[in-house]
């Protein structure tokens, strides 16, 4: 293809995109079809300038750029249309979206208007990783029966595309050993939501946030998110600056969204608090709802019977290795007990970032050299994880902060009693039974709780009975409620 061909095809693609959006911005299809690309752009720009409705500005800018414009670009186009004279308004639109247009890697992109909800499953469609958020997405989204379109970002990062078949199976049919395949979808049609909705069950990556914020603020589409936690700002001392940075930018999407469904009452409380902080800038923020996550064991089936009692009790902790999870507190509490003569084995399951693993392994080695039985396992499969939950005498999870605390309910669903923190989402879960609550910042309190469960069979049996009697949602129920929260208008 030579340069002239490319230009011709690009111009034809632009005209095709403009024709698709023409009726939505107020230019009848019959009239639009008779116009060449230049006059067509002018006609659309005139129509948008006349109404100056933000959603129309956003739509026209999207069609021209072949990607979603940022807030700055929509503002620039709005001002350009306001100030440009009739006849040269098309130029104002073109210059307003120049940055996004230059980032679009395929010049022949077409667009597809979508009025069904677009569900952003970008990370799950492009990564095999499967903890926390991915487990929620993969257990929920495939169960939605309402019409919707699964979407992932184009590799150039300018807009949503439909999933490729392999991306779709990574979301809806994930299995241990599944692998992500790279997909070049830049030239596939851009999905353009019109009078529809964007659902964000994941926390979007930083590079997409400026475009999502613009969608939330201007496009007129309903935006719903799952609120997982505000850890990156509340426990900022335990995460990297980058993580806090990303979360603060994510809040630009949150504050212009319509609804946030939070995975615990505690998280809902966080987002309501954020809303009251947004008032300083004249923004009310989204409706904040709570929908606690389901309680199901790893692998889905509840254990028929608990593993037979073992000679040496096993104290288990599952969770990524990071300061916030407080593995160091558990290690210290265990050492307090071992020094008192208690007999039990301590096991940590979970991977983490290199710097903390190195530090943690040093601490574990130091304790092991004293002759105390402690082990760390990483890269554990779901079936081994389920077996570990069943084998454990006590499950400890005194995290400093959680949005929910999935490992707690996974342990409880297996019939294992749990020691967890006495505040926040973990205390919320503990109220449903089967748990001892402690101050996670007090090693002695953790030690005392472990000791009670090791030496007091009556207490242990009563917690096991409480755990068995818990009434949690199933994933299907959770998925149904989540869909209703996202789609039903909020008072």
């Amino acid at each position: 293809m030579n340069d002239n061909d490319l230009v011709r095809r690009s111009v034809a693609a632009l005209r095709a995109r403009l024709l698709v959006v023409a009726p939505s911005v107020g230019v009848a299809a019959g009239r639009a079809n008779q116009l060449a690309v230049g006059p067509l752009l002018e006609a659309l720009a005139d129509a948008v300038a006349g109404s100056s409705t933000p959603s129309r500005v956003w739509l026209l800018a999207t069609a021209v750029a072949a990607g979603y414009p940022t807030v700055a670009e929509v503002t620039a186009v709005t001002r350009g249309l306001e100030l440009a004279a009739p006849g040269v308004r098309g130029g104002a639109v073109l210059s307003g979206v120049a940055v996004t247009a230059s980032q679009v890697r395929s010049s022949v992109v077409s667009i597809e208007l979508v009025s069904d909800p677009l569900v952003d499953v970008d990370f799950c469609a492009t990564h095999a990783h499967n903890t926390g958020i991915q487990r929620v997405v993969r257990s929920t989204v495939p169960k939605w029966s309402g019409a919707h379109v699964l979407a992932a970002w184009s590799p150039d990062g300018t807009g949503y595309r439909r999933l490729t078949p392999s991306q779709e199976s990574l979301v809806t049919a994930w299995h241990s050993g599944a692998r992500a395949e790279p997909a070049d979808t830049n030239a596939e049609p851009l999905l353009v939501p019109v009078d529809g909705a964007i659902l964000l069950p994941e926390v979007p990556a930083l590079e997409y946030i400026a475009r999502l914020a613009s969608i939330a603020r201007f496009s007129g589409n309903r935006v719903g998110l799952i609120g997982y936690d505000a850890i990156p700002v509340v426990s900022a001392d335990t995460v990297s600056d980058d993580e806090s940075d990303r979360f603060a930018h994510y809040l630009e999407v949150v504050k212009h969204a319509n609804v946030v469904s939070c995975i615990s009452e505690t998280t809902a409380d966080e987002f309501r608090s954020l809303n009251s902080s947004f008032e300083a800038q004249g923004i009310r923020g989204p409706s904040v709802l709570a929908l606690p996550l389901p309680e199901q064991p790893v692998g889905g089936q509840r254990a028929a019977e608990h593993a037979a009692p073992v000679a040496v009790p096993l104290v288990l902790m599952v969770g990524s290795l990071e300061p916030r999870k407080n593995q160091l507190g558990v290690l210290s509490a265990s050492r307090i007990l071992w020094e008192r003569g208690a007999e039990f084995e301590l096991q940590f399951i979970g991977g983490g970032s290199a710097w903390f693993i190195a530090q943690f392994d040093r601490e574990v080695d130091a304790v092991r050299r004293l002759g105390y039985p402690v082990s760390v396992r990483r890269g554990v499969s779901d079936s081994d994880l389920a077996a570990a939950y069943r084998a454990a005498t006590v499950f400890v999870f005194p995290s400093l902060q959680e949005g929910y605390g999935l490992p707690i309910v996974e342990a409880l669903a297996t019939g294992t009693p749990v020691i967890t923190s006495n505040y926040g989402s973990m205390a919320e879960i503990a109220q449903g039974g089967g748990c001892l609550s402690v101050d996670p910042r007090d090693d002695d309190a953790i030690a005392d709780a472990i000791e009670r469960l090791l030496v007091d069979p009556v207490l242990r049996e009563s917690l096991i009975a409480e755990a068995a009697a818990r009434q949690g949602l199933t994933w299907a129920e959770y998925a149904g409620s989540l869909w209703r929260q996202f789609m039903e208008p909020v008072a």
């Binding site: 807030v71 503002t75 509340v234 600056d241 806090s244 979360f247 930018h249 947004f278 800038q281 210290s332």
Partner: protein
């Protein structure tokens, strides 16, 4: 009231075992510490790390040291802290550190370190002038941000200061500490956090806003991430003195989030910042008129003034767009921006240049002196300040106290100020509404006169009154 307990083991012993320990021999201090002291508390571990390790520790280091001391004893902890310092040649030359008990420390490091005089420095200076006579100590940080250093009490006044800070480090203990600026260095924030947790002191943060968290899209690169570390330090303070009721509400919202991490968080109090009228010196008038005023065939143009740096949050793009709409209507006025460039101000500069070359009476002054600024407020027909988020909005009150009405945003701290009179409120996200606000003050003389009268009637509040309120809250 402040008491220097000495350096090294001697200082630690004097702090942890109050009484007669201070004058004993070094070796006897050591013996006493190692043999008669119970297992250290986390606070004691912090103190030992800070004094014997000669670096203010992070909370993580304190926890590790506390656990080490618990399992291995005080003697092993003292030795391990000393060994740790000797193992790293970079730490051999760390200055000695002494324990300051019952001091009132005013941490204004950045203001000591700069020659600028913006709102933050005005605030630091205002507190210092009132607090130093009451016995407070001005402090800053060592170059590596690992030690607190006593600063020269005149460090905020002198135009040129050679030695602003002492060489020896200080560690606060059972005293008072106030942080009166935003810390953008994580190294400093994490150590301040541990200080607030473990120094057994009453600590206060002067809270201007949490904009980098709630309006991250308008802040400079990486700012939200480092600001989060600053907030993590704030979370452990005893009290946040917010500079306005809006800032207090923002901080209250943030504090509500801390519950999920089991952190009680600081008490939030609203201590409104000072409002002073600048002095427009007669000497500067001619220069100000030459710089700021413009004329057309009909005479001198009414001056529309915009004060503030050209960062996105100040919304100067909307001011430019609104002004152009009004010029096209045929309104007569000239527009002057006073303020420096900032991140993402390229677009503002380009559009200002475009309007200027199209013949619009518009200009931008940066680095204007205070004298010119105060004249600008006086010479202006109106000030326009449609910011998208402010902790306070200093230019609004500065203009009002100069008798000049203001067009500003219809929410937050700006709306709060406007309740006191003198303002026209607009939606800063709507260029036409901003234009309507400016138009009304340009064309409607009765409205202008009424708002100007309200503006001059606004009560003043001195820095002394502000600093006195802060002192009562922190010290009692």
């Amino acid at each position: 009231m402040s008491e220097d307990l000495g350096t090294g083991i001697r200082g630690v012993v004097a702090a942890l075992l109050p009484g007669k320990a201070a004058d004993r021999e070094r070796e006897r201090h050591r013996l006493r510490l190692e043999h008669s002291m119970p297992l250290p508390t986390a606070e004691a571990a912090w103190l030992m790390l800070a004094v014997l390790g000669r670096r203010l520790p992070t909370s993580e280091e304190v926890e590790r040291a506390y656990r080490f001391g618990r399992f291995n004893g005080t003697r092993a902890l003292v030795r391990s802290i000393a060994m740790e310092r000797l193992r790293h040649p970079s730490r051999w030359f760390d200055a000695k550190v002494s324990v300051l008990r019952s001091a009132v420390l005013l941490d204004v490091h950045d203001s000591i370190d700069t020659h600028l005089l913006t709102g933050v420095q005005r605030l630091a200076r205002g507190i210092a002038e009132s607090w130093i006579p009451r016995g407070a100590t001005l402090i800053g940080w060592s170059p590596g941000r690992t030690q607190l250093r006593v600063a020269d009490p005149r460090a905020l006044q002198a135009a040129k200061k050679k030695r602003r800070m002492a060489r020896r480090g200080v560690v606060p203990w059972q005293g008072h500490y106030v942080l009166a600026e935003v810390v953008t260095e994580p190294e400093r924030s994490v150590r301040t956090q541990a200080l607030a947790q473990y120094a057994q002191s009453r600590t206060m943060l002067v809270g201007a806003d949490i904009i980098p968290l709630t309006t991250a899209e308008t802040t400079g690169p990486r700012m939200p991430g480092v600001f989060a570390k600053y907030l993590a330090a704030a979370a452990r303070m005893s009290v946040v003195a917010a500079i306005s009721s809006t800032a207090a509400a923002e901080y209250a919202g943030w504090r509500g989030m801390l519950r999920s991490a089991g952190i009680g968080g600081p008490e939030i109090v609203n201590v409104p910042i000072a409002e002073t009228a600048g002095i427009a010196s007669p000497d500067a008038r001619a220069e100000a008129e030459r710089l700021l005023l413009a004329a057309d065939d009909e005479g001198t143009l009414p001056l529309v003034l915009s004060v503030g740096s050209h960062e996105p949050r100040k919304n100067h793009g909307a001011v430019l767009a609104a002004a152009e709409l009004l010029w096209r209507e045929g309104l007569r006025f000239n527009l002057v921006f006073i303020g420096g460039n900032a991140w993402s101000s390229d677009e503002f500069r380009m559009r200002l240049a475009a309007l200027s070359s199209a013949g619009r009476p518009i200009q931008s002054l940066s680095g204007a002196s205070d004298a010119i600024l105060w004249w600008a407020y006086r010479l202006a027909r109106l000030t326009v300040f449609p910011s998208v988020n402010e902790g306070f909005g200093l230019p609004v009150v500065e203009s009002l106290h100069s008798g000049t009405p203001v067009v500003t945003s219809r929410f937050g701290s700006m709306e709060d100020i406007a309740r006191g009179g003198g303002c026209v409120l607009v939606d800063p996200h709507d260029d036409r509404d901003v234009a309507a606000g400016i138009r009304s003050l340009l064309l409607d003389d009765a409205l202008h006169d009424r708002l100007a009268a309200e503006a001059v009637a606004r009560p003043l509040r001195s820095w002394g009154a502000y600093a006195g309120d802060l002192w009562r809250i922190l010290v009692g």
